[in-house]
Amino acid sequence: MRYEFNLPDIGEGLTEAIVRGWMVKVGDQVKEDDPVCELETDKTVVEITSPCDGTILALNGKEGDVLKVGTLLIAFETEAVPDMPAPHGASAPASASAAVANEEKAAPATAVVSGPVTPINADVRAVPSTRRFAREHGIDLSQLAGSGPGGRILRADVERSLSGVSAGGNVGSVAQLVAPTAIPHAEGQQRIPIKGLRRAIAETMVRSVTVIPHATSMFRCNGERFLTLRKVLQEKMGVRVSFTAMVIKAMVPALQRYPNFNSSVDDTTNEIVLPGQINIGFATHTDEGLIVPVIKNVDRKSLAEISQDIDRLAALARDRKISAEDLRGGTITLSNVGSHGTAETTGGRPIINHPQSAVIVMSRIKPQPVVRNGQVVAQQCLDIGTSYDHRIIDGIYAALFMETVINVIEEPGLLLGL
């Protein structure tokens, strides 16, 4: 019998994917778990395997097509319809619904996005007609403050949210705070759609600078001990570690002492959320854009393990094969801008990886003029700085945090004691 396999929910709230390539064609016989196609999402490339034994009747989409989760992907002829997962109940991620096209043609479905079907929390004060109005327009009532009696959310509150003006203190839809601007078409122009990973980065950046008041502090410290230590580790232990790994390790005592640097702000509840784990992301450049793989539980890992993780995850990221699990859960990010090119950066304002509360930026260890005993001498220096969320971190704590990190960089032996 004919079985229609829809684009499954890949997780992470992703609602669509781009067809990168098919490994099968119409008429092929496949077995369950045979790879059938490759899809590209905002963050990574996913391989889809066959859900059943059978014959391919139809494939939906050409390379480069964008498909929404839930639309037809492959039609099979099969005797054994696979076990399907339960429908999403209370915590359904965004799923798109599709107009069902003619079954015989594998035409891309016209998509009507229906948004997440989560229940409206019983504490939300809104009358039935308002609840329905919000649903119809994809507005999450729990994000709004109500101007009605007893905090009731009125239809007017929902309407205002639709037009981008927020009621009460919440930042409603971030992207709608400023009306979009069109660039007029002109001769000789080239237009490249912002999609996939690029779009995901763009949205995170906008959200970050809109929601988080960034303050920045830059420091210069003595990198000589780090240089020596790296050589020693290579000689004595046969381990090649990167400066990125060493700084990550150096950050741990500071993160434990100043947990606000390892936290997130929950805008909906006005709470600082301390995750109870130290998961450090490190910015990695790939051909398609910036990806931040996360090393989990850094405090429990050795320098060698951290370095190996960096190598492994960076390679996966560059090949666009990194898993969603390795991209989530980060509590703070480190960006090493020193590894590229020859031009030396003298500073900058790094953007925090929302919803984290801080980002650390470091550059290459290189000789710089410093004053020692009244004399100008050349010293191997590591420039390191931070942008931090000034809602919850004040300048003095930023300074104390960085001082703790720098103390370890300048005297790594402190890790034995701290």
Binding site: M1, R2, Y3, E4, N6, G70, V81, P82, D83, M84, P85, A86, P87, H88, G89, A92, S97, A98, A99, V100, E103, T110, V112, V113, S114, G115, V117, T118, P119, I120, A122, R125, A126, V127, P128, R131, R132, R135, E136, H137, G138, G150, R152
Partner: protein
Amino acid sequence: MTGKSQENLAEQIECDLLVLGGGPGGYSAAFRAADLGLKVVVVEERAVLGGVCLNVGCIPSKTYLHYAALIRAMAHAGSAGIAFAAPTIDVAALRAHKQEVVGKLVTGLAGLAKARGVRIVQGRGRFIGQRELAVRSEEAASATVRFKYAVIAVGSEPVRLPHIPDDPRIVDSTGALELPSVPKRMLVIGGGIIGLEMATVYSALGAQVDVAELSDGLMPGTDRDAVVVWQKANADSLGRIMLETRVVGIDAAAEGLSVRFEGKAAPLEPQSYDLVLLSVGRAPNGGKVGAESIGVMVDAKGFIPVDLQMRTNQRHIFAIGDVVGAPMLAHKAVHEGHVAAEVVAGELLGNEEWARVAFDARIIPSVSYTDPEVAWVGMTETQAKAEGRAVDVARFPWAASGRALANGCENGFTKLLLDPSDNRVIGGAIVGPGAGDMIGEVALAVEMCAEAADLALTIHPHPTLGETIGLAAEAGLGWCTDLPPKRRK
């Protein structure tokens, strides 16, 4: 799968939306979908629409209950100086009248379907493909329906107990509503709403009715204070009410059904009855339509899990009504049917707003159409206690209601449950005639996030039973001048 040759003979019907089941949920979904512009086919195994509710449920039982209440009222009129002789009851005529009521409604439904161009195919449906349903029928020709979307609305049926034998004198609610005759002695197994409604009907018609209930209380789900009022009001008209008691066996003999009991209130000797009603719950029909064979998840009990849009794990297949879960009430099915229809129409016609609709009702009222009626909605005191949640109870006893006294129903009460932090109405219960008609106002108050003052400051007409809702709200706020003063501390 079905034989190919059979399918070749079957008519092939194409549609946008297939609705499997023509009960209140099914026809509501079908008609709404048709109103929104879809081509709809309903597959229904009965020769008429209306499902259980219309044919062998809500409507027949409420018809009989109306007359049961009338008979009881006549019996009590003697205290006002109007003495009625015991009525002569023509069971056949009463049954025919019930059938006439049902008949009017099913004819009306057929007309509504025709006016909307909704095609009704009679027979039992079974899914044979992701977008294909085979319909088989004794009376009509078979058919295959090819659809883009489907709504499964196949309802439920009375639970059978394996140790209860087959005998024409042992009936379920469907059989009881056939009203073959008025037995001398009747046993109702199951003290829930259906059982007690049937007990009300049969005892009014002259039967002596005993009730056996497994749990320690009648009408599970209702607060005990309401049940107590009902029990007292029915103490004289019912026989034995045996709580924490089960039936262990029934011996069917020519002269009667000999029932053996076990439990707290069980009689030591077997009791003899002429009619036994088994009303111990209803089981969903989800496992009977081949849904699993096309990948729709059906649980071990026969329920079909759905999300808030009534969607099953197969994106193009929806399910509504009894088959998706409790409470098994027609009004829940109707609202779910509307949601499913709107989502399907939204997807097929590219309407984003309809496609996002979901079942957001917070509360569903329940009513026992007994005499007195018992109706409740939202939070109950029992539930609040179980959750450890603080509630204020605002009560108005009908003994203080002029209209209740005039009508002779002063044993009733109206109560509202309020959230102590802001006096929001979060639930309510009413016991008395017309409770079912009044509970809607409380439901509205809860959905509108109203507080007690909103009810108290809305002028209700006097003298009515309905004004007790406003008066209960006043009582909760300490404003009520129809009750004794609150003691000053």
